[in-house]
Symmetry: C2
């Protein structure tokens, strides 16, 4: 794919720039999303559009589109598979919010609060089925294998996360296993699909999958770190979701490793017993900062970012590849 | 497939006889089920085996095995697809129990009570993904199309059921749409898969799908009727689950059609307002009996039974076909 000049007055971030370059493709993906989330049972499109229309970064379908375009694959096929990837993601969000008892998602009340847990579970199942209908229409068994494997791994990661929550003896290795499964596996699959449908060789597909996997791990570490960055509250962002649920994430693990007795008692009370008062989140943020845990997280994310960029070297050098490279930086330095 | 002599001292029902004839195949299916529900995340096989080991009639995988054997298809492929069908069914049971807040399933505490709603949702997702991994391994896009369509229809039916629950203006037609989608679609798919992998012609595949669809509708009408048959309590069976949830099912619809003002108030209080006292289930059963609603349900189920048998006529005449025919009778006359 040749470079495409982007007409832009103001500097845009790599995610926006990907969105600009792939704008007509993303429109086609959105049209498919609207078509496939429709149903004579009107509660389904109501609930699905509530979540999907609320936006989100659309990073996963963009990865599928970009990874197909880089290898000059058939973009019509990429549209279907990007929609499929977004449906899998949306289904997991709906189920996650039920599982976590979430109150907010994408800056609005979570779907389970508005439509109930029952509808959220079932519409998630519907979108998941739609994802497989889209893949079946595409007809590539390789793609079906990649995305059904990823779906099983995501569910495994989510269950593993349940077993590590409220458990202070969770190791960094276990945490990394969880985020690799629950987040990075779908990033990897979204990226691998491109070279696969473009008929690129196995090494190229593996390289793109490695890029996605490592980018996904870096992305989730950054996400988990942002949840303890008190200054985000000034931007109107909610923090502390993981804290309230007692999830054991990277910033907590780094702080725990340096915790004295009193701090261990604090983490035990707040994350294991979930006995939390109003000042506890602030104290958690302060303790995490004191032990340089934010910096440690940043360094950890950086190592995965480097692996992602390393994997990307094998891909054809195009404007889009450069943007995917920049995206890794953006992913771990974003403040929202 | 030639007839197989069954050595049996005591008369067995057609479901047991199918199980006897297909015993070695069902063992192969069970081995696959155990293999594919395994995971390094031990909560997954724990929860899945809790439900799967509790038994259940295994009617859906038996339908896939029988419909393949009738057309002399590859039984090794049938094993995989029967396991896939059972995984889809198990996933929907896990999600249903969360949605319904069920307390009991297959004679034991429901999985959501033992392992929590969170784990039930996520293990359901895992089994659903495994179903698609099994289908992908089989490699038939026709099968993938049939079963991904069925999965989407099941979810649609479940959501539609949410919107008809507690709604006395639900029509018989809407009720039939719900049960066709939530139950019969998977029966149809389970039966259609056989002739498809055996390479039978379209008419044969359609006939088996029609058999499954109509059998599934009859099966669900019978199931919904049994929930109001007070005499089952003497057999140690729970009744009244649908009543307690305010589901609008065939026996209620027939009784409603003949209800006087006082009865309409009763149904409104109990099924719409869910304001129920200890004697209400007994009164519901009495009212249903008074209006001959059980008989009306039986007649309704009978019409679908006849359609099922009619569809089956096109299939090759074998012992297994005869058993499938007998199964329709058994399905609507069973007392448990």
């Amino acid at each position: 794919m040749s470079d495409i000049a982007v007409q832009s007055e103001t500097p845009v971030n790599p995610l926006e720039e990907l969105g600009n370059i792939l704008d007509s493709d993303m429109r086609a993906v959105n049209t498919l999303i609207l078509k496939y989330m429709d149903s004579p049972v009107k509660l389904i499109p109501q609930l699905a559009s509530y979540l999907i229309a609320a936006g989100g970064k659309r990073i996963r379908p963009l990865l599928t589109l970009a990874s197909t375009a880089i290898y000059e694959g058939d973009m019509t096929r990429a549209h279907r598979l990007a929609a499929s990837v977004e449906f899998i993601h949306t289904a997991t969000l709906l189920h996650d919010d039920v599982v976590d008892g979430s109150e907010e998602r994408r800056g609005q009340d979570a779907a389970n609060l508005v439509f109930g847990n029952q509808a959220s579970v079932l519409v998630g199942d519907f979108l998941f089925s739609r994802a497989f209908q889209l893949m079946t229409e595409d007809g590539s068994l390789d793609v079906l294998r990649i995305l059904s494997n990823a779906s099983a791994i995501i569910a495994e990661g989510e269950v593993m996360q349940l077993t590590t929550a409220n458990n202070l003896s969770t190791t960094m290795d276990e945490y990394l296993q969880v985020i690799e499964a629950k987040t990075a596996a779908l990033f990897a699959a979204a990226c691998e699909v491109g070279p696969i449908i473009a008929g690129a060789d196995t090494a190229q597909a593996k390289a793109m999958a490695d890029y996605g996997l490592n980018m996904g791990i870096a992305f989730q570490i950054a996400d988990d770190t942002l949840d303890y960055m008190a200054q985000r509250e000034k931007l109107g962002k909610t923090i502390g979701d993981d804290f309230r649920e007692g999830k054991i994430t990277a910033p907590v693990l780094f702080a725990l490793a340096k915790a004295d007795d009193q701090e261990r008692k604090f983490w035990h009370r707040t994350l294991v017993d979930l006995n939390q008062n109003d000042d506890d989140l602030q104290e958690a943020c302060t303790t995490i900062k004191k032990h340089n845990a934010i910096e440690s997280c940043s360094n950890l994310a950086m190592t995965y970012k480097c692996k992602a960029i390393e994997a990307l070297r094998l891909a054809p050098e195009t404007k889009l590849r450069n943007l995917l490279e920049e995206l890794t930086d953006y992913t771990i330095t974003r403040k929202f």
